[in-house]
C-alpha cells in the first residue's frame, strides 16, 4: 500500500478542495464567498419517513441506536468503565427529536446494562406520542433464559424505559448457535408465546427479531411467518454496501445482506437496518479509498454513502446509527433530510468500494462490545481496532528489506502499547472461548487474537513474515 499522502496532508488537501469547490459553487450561484461550508447545519422538517404497514407508524428513516452512548470523558473505547454522560445523551436525543428522529433502539445488555435507563431518562422528557421505542429480549445468559427470568427482563425494560408499552420488541440476535439456541431462549420456556400475548394486550405494538448468523435460522423463522405460526411485524438485519455481497465471503457462517433483504421484501416485512457503517469501519477507511469517495461527492461525508445505501431500499423502515457524538447525529440528519436514493451508477461505484474494503482484510469487528468483559481482562475490541487501524494506515510491516519496515514496526508496536495496556493485550488470551459465542459478526475471537499475538511476537523478534490475513 503506497500512500505518500498522509492523513494530515490529505485533510489539508481536502479542506483546500472543499473550500475551492464551495467557492466555485458560490461563484456560480450568488457570486458571494461563504463564511462556512453550506450543508453543515441539518434542516428541520425535511426528514424522510417510511410507513410501517402493520401499524401505520410513520417512522423516521434515521433511528437512534443507543448502544454506543457517550460516556463521561469521551468515548467508551477510551474509557470503558466511565459512566454514561446523561447530559449529553439528553441533549442529543432532544436534538434528534427536534430534527424529526422518532425511533430509538436499545437493549437491556447495552452499555454495561445502563443504556435502557439512560434512554428512559432522555425520552421521559418528551411526549410518549413523539417517539417509538425499540428494545430487546436479551436473554443470553442462562439465568435470564428461564420463563421467569425472561419475563422479568421484559418487565424491567418497561420500568427502565419509563413506558407502559414497547413499540418494537425484538428477540435479540437470533442466528448464532442455530435453532437449538432459538429453542432454548424463546421456545422451550414459552416466552415467544407469552410475548405474543403481551402484544395482544397492547404492551408490545410490533414484534420482530434481530438476526446475526445462521441462514437456516433466518429461513426457519420466515417459514413460521409464511405458515402463520408467528407473525413478524419487522425484522432487524445487518445491511451495508460491504455486507450486501461480501458478508458470506468475509465469514462463511454469515449471510449476504442482499439475500436477507430480498427475503423480507418478498414477504412485505419491513426491515430495520443495523450496522449501516459497521461500527464506523465504513467511515474510517484508508486515504486511497476515502479519496475516491470524496472525488464523487466532495461535499458529503464518507459516512453519508453508507447511510444513503442503507436507506435506499423501499422496504427499509429505519436505519439505526449509534451516534456517540453530536457531529455523527448532525451528519446523519443532513443525509436523511431528505434521503437522496443511491442511483444505479452510484450503486456500482459502491460495489467497487466494497471490493476495495474487502481486500484490506481487516478483522470485521464493529466494536459492539458484546464479547466484553473478557474474564481474563483483555480489551478485545481495542486490540482488533488497533490492528485494523494499522492495516488501514499501512503500518503492517511485511518485508524487512522494505524501506518502510522500521517505521511501520515502530508504529505498530508503540501504537499497540498506547491503545491497549500491556495486561490487556492479545498475549494474555488463554483461548477459553467464552467470548466467541457472543460475537454477532461471528469472529473466531481467540484464533484472531492469537494470530495478532504471533504477529506482535514476530515483530518484536524481527522475524518478518506478514500475518496470514494481511495478504
Amino acid at each position: 500500500m503506497n500512500k505518500e499522502l498522509n492523513r494530515r496532508n490529505f485533510l489539508k488537501y481536502l479542506g483546500g478542495g472543499l473550500a475551492a469547490s464551495s467557492a466555485l459553487l458560490a461563484a456560480c450561484t450568488d457570486g458571494e464567498r461563504r463564511t462556512s461550508a453550506s450543508k453543515q447545519e441539518p434542516p428541520k422538517g425535511k426528514m424522510t419517513y417510511r410507513t410501517n404497514p402493520n401499524t401505520g407508524d410513520k417512522v423516521s428513516l434515521l433511528g437512534y441506536g443507543m448502544m454506543r452512548l457517550p460516556v463521561e470523558g469521551g468515548s467508551e473505547r477510551d474509557n470503558p468503565d466511565a459512566p454514561i454522560d446523561q447530559e449529553m445523551v439528553n441533549r442529543q436525543v432532544d436534538y434528534a427529536i427536534e430534527h424529526g428522529v422518532n425511533y430509538f433502539d436499545t437493549s437491556p445488555a447495552y452499555c454495561r446494562g445502563f443504556s435502557e435507563s439512560a434512554t428512559g431518562i432522555a425520552l421521559a422528557r418528551h411526549k410518549r406520542s413523539e417517539f417509538f421505542v425499540a428494545t430487546k429480549l436479551s436473554n443470553f445468559s442462562p439465568n435470564t433464559q428461564t420463563t421467569e427470568g425472561s419475563k422479568q427482563m421484559f418487565e424491567n425494560s418497561l420500568k427502565q424505559l419509563q413506558v407502559d408499552y414497547i413499540d418494537y420488541l425484538l428477540l435479540h440476535a437470533v442466528g448464532g448457535g442455530g435453532m437449538p439456541e432459538v429453542n432454548r431462549r424463546y421456545m422451550d420456556n414459552g416466552i415467544l408465546d407469552w410475548l405474543v400475548e403481551q402484544k395482544q394486550k397492547g404492551r408490545i405494538r410490533n414484534l420482530g427479531f434481530s438476526f446475526h448468523g445462521d441462514k437456516e435460522v433466518f429461513d426457519e423463522l420466515l417459514t413460521w411467518h409464511d405458515e402463520g405460526k408467528y407473525h413478524w411485524d419487522f425484522v432487524q438485519i445487518e445491511l451495508n454496501y460491504l455486507d450486501w455481497n461480501w458478508a458470506n465471503e468475509i465469514n462463511d457462517s454469515n449471510v449476504d445482506a442482499v439475500y436477507l433483504y430480498s427475503e423480507l421484501e418478498k414477504r412485505g416485512i419491513p426491515a430495520v437496518i443495523m450496522e449501516p457503517l459497521l461500527g464506523g469501519r465504513l467511515a474510517n477507511v484508508p486515504t486511497t479509498i476515502a479519496a475516491k469517495m470524496k472525488q464523487r461527492d466532495p461535499e458529503g461525508s464518507i459516512a453519508k454513502w453508507g447511510f444513503r445505501f442503507a436507506g435506499t431500499p423501499k422496504g427499509v423502515l429505519c436505519v439505526l446509527s449509534g451516534m456517540t457524538y453530536m457531529e455523527h447525529l448532525k451528519d446523519n440528519l443532513i443525509t436523511y433530510s431528505p434521503l437522496q436514493p443511491i442511483t444505479e451508477e452510484e450503486n456500482e461505484f459502491l460495489m467497487e468500494i466494497a471490493e476495495d474494503i474487502y481486500n484490506l482484510k481487516t478483522i470485521p469487528c464493529n466494536e459492539c462490545n458484546y464479547c466484553m468483559p473478557c474474564p481474563y481482562g483483555l480489551n478485545i475490541p481495542a486490540i482488533f481496532s488497533h490492528y485494523n487501524k494499522c492495516i488501514k494506515d499501512g503500518n503492517i510491516p511485511h518485508e524487512k528489506l522494505d524501506k518502510e519496515y522500521d517505521r511501520a514496526r515502530r508504529a505498530f508496536l508503540v501504537g499497540y502499547d498506547r491503545s491497549v495496556p500491556k495486561l490487556r493485550q492479545a498475549s494474555h488470551c488463554i483461548g477459553c472461548n467464552q467470548c466467541a459465542p457472543h460475537c454477532p459478526q461471528r469472529i473466531p475471537i481467540p484464533q484472531e487474537l492469537q494470530k495478532i499475538d504471533d504477529f506482535v511476537e514476530r515483530l518484536k523478534q524481527e522475524i518478518v513474515i506478514a500475518p496470514e490475513n494481511a495478504e
Binding site: R7, E76, P80, D81, P108, A109, Y110, C111, R112, G113, S138, F140, S141, N143, T144, C368, N369, Y370, C371, M372, P373, C374, P375, Y376, G377, N379, R407, R410, A411, V414, G415, D417, R418, K422, L423, R424, S427, H428, C429, I430, G431, C432, N433, Q434, C435, H438, Q450, D453, E457, K460, Q461, E462
Partner: protein, 509 residues
Amino acid sequence: MLKKIRTTLAIIVLALITLLFLDVSGALHAWLGWLAKIQFLPAVLALNVAVIVALVALTLIFGRIYCSIICPLGIFQDVISWIHSKRKKNRFSFSPEKKWIRYPVLALFIIAFVAGVNSFVALLAPYSSYGRIVNNLFRPVYEWGNNILARIAEHYESYAFSETDIWLKSLPTFVIAAVTLVLLIILAWKGGRTYCNTICPVGTILSFLSRFSWLKIRMDEDKCIKCGLCSKNCKASAIDFKNFHVDYSRCVVCGDCLEKCKKDAIHYCFKDKGQRTKDNLVNEKQESVSGKATSPQTEVDSSRRSFLVSAAMATTAAALAQGKGDVDGGLAVIEDKIAPERNTPITPPGSLSAKNMAKHCTACQLCVSACPNGVLRPSTDLLTLMQPTSSYERGYCRPECTKCSEVCPAGAIRPISVEDKSSTQIGHAVWIKQNCIPVTDGVDCGNCERHCPTGAIEMVPLDENDPAGVYIPAVNESYCIGCGACENLCPARPFSAIYVEGHEVHKTI
C-alpha cells in the same frame, strides 16, 4: 586553563553518564557504554587489565585527575560544592588528612571485597552509588518527562516517544540511594571533597599513586605572599599555605587554586619551581576529632517478606474470571501479580552463575535501568543486596533482548548473543497445580505452551484416561531456559500457576 579543561571534560562526562542511566530508548547504551567500563572498580571487577593500567598510568602522570573528570560521583559533588561557593566565597581551609577514618575504611572495604560481602563493597563504590542515585531518584523524573512527551507525541500521531512504566523496583535500594544522596549533598555542601578524601575507597587507593605523580600542584615560596586564597578555595582542604605544603593524597587536580592565585605562585608542573619548597614532613597535627566524618552506612530494611506483604496489600483484591454476565462492555479488573518465593534467585543470562554475579557486581543498577522488560530489579537479599535479580511479574526475559549483558561494566553479566541466550538455562519452570486455571476453573488455557520460546511445554490431559477433559502443562525441564514467558503470561493471579526456579549455575542446553 587546567580548570577550564577539567570543568569542560567533567561536565561532558557527568552529563553522558547520567544520560546512560536515564536513557529509556535503549539506543544510547551502545554509544555511551564505555563510560561505565572505564570506571575504576568495575574495571577491577571485570579484570579489565587495559583500563586498570591506563588509570594507574593516568594517576601516575596527572595525579588524581580521575576523581575530577571520570568519577561521576566526584563530579556531582563538585557541582554541589560549586553551588555553595557561588553564595559563599573562600569557604575552605586546610585540614589534615583523616587517616584514622580513611585507612580503616579502606581496610574494611578490602576485607569485605575479599570475603565477598558485596553489599558493603557496593555501598562504598563511588560509581555505583552514583548509578543508584540516578536510577532510583532521577530516572523516575526523567521517565515522567518522557511520558509527557509520549502523550504529546500520541496526540500528534507521532511514534517518536513511547510511554514507559514507572515503578519502585526495590524499596531498600531506593532508601539507600536517597540516604546516600542526602549525605553526599551535606558533605559536599559543607566540605567539598570530604567524602572522596575520607571514605571513598577508590579515592584512597588512587591517593597512594598520586603522591608520586609526575605532574603536581607546586607552590613558589618566593612569589607567595601567604594570602591564603589557594587554601580557601581548595575543596579538598589539601593546601596548607602557611607551610607551603600540598597533600597530594587528597589533591584531585581541579585547578581551582591555580585560578585563584593572583601572584602566579602556584603551578601545575613536573618539578619544583620554588627552591625551598617543603614537600613533606609538615607537622600534621592530629587535631581533635571533627564531627565531619560520617559513616555512609545506612540502615537497611531488607525484609523481603514485609515488602511483599505491603505490596500485596497495595494491590486491589479483586476476584478474576468473573465470567460473562448479562450485559455487554466494561473491563474485568486485573489483579497485580505477586512474585513467588523462589528458592534460588534468578540471575540474567550472561551472568554465568550466582557466584560470578556476586563476585563481580558493584550494584551500579545500569542493567536494571537498561532492562526494557521490567525483569531486573535490585535484590533485597542481604548478601546480594542491590545486585540485580530477575523476576517476571511485569514482563519476561524476551528472546531478542540482551541489553543487560551489553551494558554491564563489571563482568557480572558477560556479553551474550541472542543465539547463546536462547540456549542458556538460567532456571526451570515449575507447575503449581492449585493455581492452574484449567484445574480450578475447568477452562482451556495453554497460554504457557503457546508462548514458550523453546517448546519446553506440552499440554497434556489432566486425567490421562480423559483426553476430552482439561489439559495441563507438562514442562520438559531439559528444554526450559527459565525465561519466564510462562510465568508472566499465566492467567492465574496474583500467583502464577507456573513459575521459574533459578539455577545457581547457568548451563547450555
